[in-house]
């Protein structure tokens, strides 16, 4: 079967590249680690791939704003490649720092490079948070979450700046357009603003969003950390494969890309 190509982007300080690579390969993709320098020098081109994955980490040390320095680099040097990639209907996923990069390039929420309409701020707690949270999967056009609407995912967050924030009109707009893909949920499965179930203090409990086509998606929690049985903290308490619904995100992407 055809294996879609995934460009796993590396840059100084990105550190979730290997597990992102593994999650996509596990889902049937063919991955390549591509350093942003290789793209800048033209040794690599995004057009060779069907999926662009921006992994988590601390690109350029989270200096100035998390993801900002890499976002500036991408919009300064790879604008055409990125626009081309997106307009061909290919898939982009940003996880944690990758999500921060996507909002700071403007690819999220409106697919317009250089137009920053939403942001991810320092957590309300003021510090890094690493904990398992529940995510409610909303019903959206997002191709990464096809067939998952209404499910509750258990997934780890690990960030210092994951508080989703935007102006009231933008918030209203992305809600109206159905672009909110994931919300932090309490034990009862309903969205919550309460710490620590909402670990960042995110507006409307937003943990991840997509663009209007559903082909660009960013999320703060780390689904790539939970694609195998023993990766969940309570796998010993579980019967069956409950923990594996994180894997569906990657499978959906690969399945979609196969049709391209």
């Amino acid at each position: 079967m055809k294996k879609p190509g995934v460009c796993v982007l590396r840059a100084d300080g990105i550190n979730c590249d290997e597990e992102t690579f593994h999650a996509f390969e596990n889902a049937g993709a063919k991955c390549a680690m591509v350093h942003v320098n290789q793209l800048r020098r033209g040794e690599e081109n995004l057009s060779s791939y069907q999926i662009l994955a921006l992994p988590g980490g601390f690109s350029y040390g989270d200096d100035v704003h998390s993801g900002k320095i890499l976002a500036v680099e991408l919009t300064s040097f790879l604008k055409e490649q990125l626009n081309d990639f997106v307009h061909k209907g290919k898939l982009v996923i940003g996880i944690c720092n990758g999500f921060q990069v996507l909002v700071r390039t403007g690819l999220l929420p409106y697919r317009r490079l250089g137009e920053i309409k939403t942001t991810l701020m320092v957590n309300s707690s003021g510090h890094f948070e690493c904990r398992w949270v529940n995510l409610l999967v909303e019903s959206t056009p997002c191709v990464f979450t096809r067939g998952m609407a209404g499910k509750i995912m258990s997934v780890q967050v690990a960030n210092g700046g994951g508080k989703f924030y935007t102006a009231p009109d933008t918030l209203q707009d992305i809600e109206n357009q159905g672009q909110v893909v994931f919300r932090y949920a309490g034990n009862d499965g309903s969205p919550t603003l309460l710490y620590p179930a909402n670990p960042n203090g995110s507006l409307n409990a937003i943990a991840g969003i997509c663009d209007s086509t559903g082909r660009i998606m960013g999320m703060m929690p780390h689904p790539e950390r939970c694609v195998g049985k023993t990766q969940h903290p309570n796998w010993r308490r579980m019967s069956g494969d409950n923990s594996l619904c994180c894997q569906d995100i990657f499978k959906n992407a690969v399945e979609y890309a196969r049709q391209m």
Binding site: E18, A23, I69, A158
Partner: protein
């Protein structure tokens, strides 16, 4: 001229950084006059005009959704006080590079330097200058690396011209002058100074400052391990040197798992599929005592480089941290002059570990915190790391003559000079002032990209040998690598952070994030290319020769030429005498309490027992996706586990188990049994989760007061304990470190010695991580089974005794020969999936282990104390190597545990409470919630 841009969060939007500072002002300092804190970031640019600065402010610095900016004018205008804090000139601000890069990416030309700082605005009618001074001094500024900016700097460029290489007229010095030369700088004794004098007499010349410095550094306790290598006279009889005894024990164990022990930057154990695992644990006590954030950061950074510099290069896969501090609520008046408050030390050290490990993408999975008043002068800060590498690349490389000496990574600055010699000296009230340059701020991203480059170079076979630049900098790294061959370097080729370093400073600088490689000439070009791809700087400094000399030039002039033999073997072996005296300790009379619930909660809330979850939540323990047993699990993910289990090869079931043990209080009572306890605890933690006791190795860390006769006697006993433990269990030590300077001497004659620390770290392999258990109870109605040998009267050193201020002398005397049968049986039952949960008994004893298992499972328990046992002893005895296991109803414990001591003590229940009975009478019943609150509260108060 400098352009300044100031950025802050808009009115009406929460300022999390300001809120965090306000919280600390209220809670850590108890200052209530401050009602609000707002923060602003200050960016400075040199070489561009105001328009360019405005462009950067708009496009790079500010996110207008939530921020506003001003260029060249103030931004916080309505606060009672505004304070700006910046790094001191010369302390590298990691953000500066990113500012330069992004400005260039955005097409801004002409920028020659950039910097950033923070402004704090304090609001409140009643805020006084005295309040602000306290806030600044105890919260915002560490004067070692930061300062309060009173007026904007005129330039960001650090100027300077290098000092000359001085000749030290050692040949003409008398003893007094030799001592003066050594004091506060070289930390050598008179005999050693005389050996140096004689050497230069024989050469018929005086040394350069470079030569004196490198000898002092190589011969420092930190690098030379003089005490561990000394001839030892114990109670009048000569014994083998400490280090020799440990290494002999490892050799005698003939453990086939060991691939490399004690010869490299870390010890290496065989793993699966042609891969190997290496481990190293380091201390960073001295820097952390004066600048905990930078100290802990560079501690982590250093131990990660030890891993990366093992064999031909390893990937770092785990980080651990073990701390000993004074209680965070110690009254400020009890802190000795020149020392920092433990509340500050604790929070800042943890922030340092957090920021280095998280940014590197290395999971911090295992650690512990211990509190004792006698760490108030000097804390113990231990950082460990583990790595994975191909077994074929796990042997230490040997440079060949002609190989190039290549320096990789960060640039060299004045930071960290004299770290090796400084950390070998005792701490005094002058330490903080004299040795300020021995501390620096880490740059994890520099290290991360360097490691990325190293692994690529290793896989392409370009590395002949590699080591990290740790204590002693280039001097130590090149000196050790070239010990067999000789080496020649040109110090002026080293890339510098700023001009003005003297040759000896370049040689000795301990700037972080640097490594040295030996590379064959034909591979140099390719290595340069790889480094360029990863934005890593790499420079040929010189070459390995065949002449057995270590020489250096600066601008073509020779500044150093030493015989490697003298450098490495010239240090005279010390002859030390040791004699430990048993301290007079009285036994606590144990009697049943009037208030069982109060006692139980007090033990659970003891600092050495309480939940450390708020700390763990700040460490990224899930990055790399390898965690098969996290620090906390259970229904509410708040039940602690005993060890970390990783699956370092994604997609494969192979497990790496990591754990540790230490108990400083027991070492004060009896260093032999205290040390046996530490080793037992380390391996018991691992086996409780499912580690195989036949496939484990150990790492030792001795953090001791200055080794006077008494303390050396204690050390001798601790070593004997380690050796006996290796012989009884077959688990060898394969790496280790000693740090023997944790004594404080005040001007007024105060002497404070820390409770001696032996931290034993254990790591081992299992073929299938799925055949392991966590500590949380899984079901109601299960048998609760107590396993292992213990004499419950041995209560000395327990938390129970500490609460009653009487350590006692009858401590747990664990017989390591009894341990292996227990551990092997446990392994068999866990790996055959007969247990639902297992937890080892340690601080707080059975009562704490039981409570923690209940917390994790959100399950209650009813236990019966045997009639022949004293209830207090039974509940609170702390003999390591004993376990509580959850056995499903259908199984018979006596049958599955065979011949080892086991006893059904109770049953799990659906009631969310713990009930303790004896002889049919109920001693007490307590709600889980109440117990959990007592257990969680202490660290919640220190960490928000």
């Amino acid at each position: 001229m400098i352009q300044e841009a100031r950025v802050m969060v808009r009115d009406g939007i929460p300022d999390s950084k300001g809120d965090e500072v306000l919280y600390e002002i209220h809670h850590a300092l108890g200052i209530s006059s401050v009602e609000k804190v707002r923060t602003a970031k200050v960016f400075r640019f040199e070489g561009i005009d105001e328009d360019a600065a405005r462009f950067l402010a708009e496009r790079l610095l500010t996110e207008e959704i939530f921020q506003s900016f001003r260029v060249n004018s103030t931004i916080i205008n309505d606060a009672a006080f505004v304070i700006e804090v910046a790094y001191r000139p010369g302390v590298m601000n990691p953000e500066a590079d990113s500012l330069m890069k992004s400005a260039s990416d955005l097409g801004v030309d002409g920028l020659i330097a950039a910097d950033s700082a923070w402004q704090y605005g304090f609001y409140g009618k009643n805020v006084t200058e005295a309040d602000i001074e306290r806030i600044v001094n105890s919260l915002l500024v560490n004067a070692t690396v930061e300062y309060v900016v009173k007026e904007s700097p005129e330039t960001l460029i650090i100027q300077g011209s290098p000092g000359r290489t001085e000749i030290v007229p050692i040949r003409s010095m008398n003893d007094q002058q030799l001592i003066e030369l050594s004091q506060d700088k070289l930390f050598l004794n008179l005999e050693e100074m005389r050996v140096i004098q004689n050497y230069f007499n024989s050469l018929d010349r005086d040394p350069t400052d470079c030569e004196i410095e490198i000898i002092a550094q190589t011969w420092s306790e930190h690098c030379g391990h003089k005490t561990f290598k000394a001839r030892l006279i114990v109670d009048g009889k000569e014994k083998k040197p400490l280090l020799k005894r440990l290494r002999d024990a490892t050799e005698e164990s003939k453990n086939p798992l060991v691939l490399s022990a004690f010869v490299d930057n870390s010890g290496v154990m065989d793993f699966y599929d042609g891969m190997a695992i290496c481990g190293k644990v380091e201390t960073h006590n001295s820097p952390s005592a004066i600048e905990p954030y930078g100290g802990a950061m560079t501690g982590s950074g250093g131990v990660f480089r030890d891993i990366a510099g093992t064999g031909l290069g390893a990937k770092v896969i785990a980080s651990t941290d073990m701390f000993c501090f004074a209680p965070p609520d110690l009254p400020a008046a009890e802190i000795p002059p020149g020392c920092l408050h433990p509340h500050y030390l604790l929070r800042r050290a943890i922030a340092g570990i957090r920021d280095y490990g998280n940014r590197m993408g290395i999971p911090t999975n295992n650690g512990s915190l211990h509190f004792h008043r006698d760490y108030r002068a000097k804390p113990t800060v231990i950082a460990g790391a583990y790595g994975i590498l191909p077994a074929a690349a796990c042997q230490k490389g040997q440079p060949q003559p002609g190989d190039r000496v290549m320096a990789m990574g960060g640039r060299t600055g004045r930071d960290g000079i004299h770290g090796a010699t400084f950390s070998s000296g005792e701490m005094t009230d002058r330490t903080i002032d004299v040795n300020a340059s021995a501390v620096q701020i880490g740059h994890p991203i520099e290290e991360k990209r360097m490691f990325d480059a190293i692994l690529t170079a290793r896989d392409e076979g370009l590395i002949r040998a590699i080591t990290d630049c740790g204590a002693g900098g280039f001097a130590s790294a090149v000196g050790e690598m070239g010990a067999e061959t000789g080496a020649r370097i040109a110090l002026d080729l080293a890339p510098l952070k700023y001009p003005g370093l003297s040759p000896w400073e370049i040689l000795l600088s301990e700037s972080q994030e640097r490594m040295v490689l030996a590379v064959a000439p034909e591979h140099v070009e390719r290595l340069l290319e790889i480094c360029r791809d990863y934005n890593v700087e790499v420079t040929v400094l010189g070459e390995f020769t065949g002449d057995g000399h270590f020489s250096a030039t600066y601008d073509g002039r020779k500044v150093m030429d030493l015989d490697m033999n003298f450098l490495h073997d010239g240090l005279p072996q010390r002859v030390l005498s040791a004699a430990w005296k048993r301290p007079p300790l009285t036994e606590l009379k144990i009697k049943a309490p009037a208030d069982w619930p109060g006692l139980y909660k007090k033990v659970l809330g003891h600092l050495n027992v309480c939940s450390k979850e708020p700390i763990v939540r700040m460490y990224d323990h899930g990055v790399q996706g390898t965690n098969a047993l996290p620090p906390f699990a259970g229904v509410h993910v708040d039940g602690p586990n005993d060890a970390a289990i990783l699956t370092p090869i994604l997609g494969k079931p192979y497990g790496l188990v990591i754990s540790h043990g230490l108990n400083p209080v027991l070492n004060q009572i009896d260093p032999y049994y205290g040390s046996i306890w530490a080793a037992t605890e380390a391996v018991a933690n691992a086996v409780a989760c499912g580690a195989n006791p036949d496939e484990m190795v150990l790492i030792d860390n001795f953090i001791w007061p200055f080794p006077d006769e008494e303390q050396l006697g204690a050390l001798d006993m601790a070593i004997d304990a380690c050796v006996d433990f290796v012989r009884a269990t077959g688990m060898p030590f394969i790496s280790g470190k000693d740090s023997l300077s944790s004594t404080y001497r005040g001007k007024d004659g105060t002497v404070i010695k820390i409770p001696p620390v032996l931290c034993v770290s254990a790591f081992g392999r299992i073929p299938d991580a799925a055949k392991t258990v966590s500590a949380d109870f899984k079901a109601a109605g299960s048998h609760i089974v107590l396993l292992g040998y213990r004499d419950t009267k041995e209560m000395a050193g327990s938390v129970y005794c500490q609460i009653h201020d009487a350590p006692g002398s009858n401590l747990p005397r664990i017989n390591p020969d009894n341990l292996m049968p227990v551990l092997k049986t446990l392994y068999r039952t866990v790996s055959s999936r007969q247990l639902l949960a297992c937890h080892d008994l340690s601080e707080g004893g059975l009562a704490v282990a039981l409570a923690e298992m209940c917390f994790g499972g959100d399950t209650g328990a009813v236990i019966n104390i045997p009639e022949d046992e004293d209830a207090i002893n039974f509940l609170f005895n702390e003999t390591a190597g004993c376990f509580l296991a959850e056995v499903p109803t259908g199984l018979k414990p006596a049958a599955i545990f065979g011949g080892i001591p086991c006893r059904i003590i109770g049953v799990t229940s659906t009631d969310k409470s713990i009930t303790v009975k004896q002889s049919g009478d109920e001693l007490f019943t307590l709600e889980l919630n109440e117990l959990k609150t007592a257990w969680q509260q202490p660290m919640k108060e220190v960490f928000r």
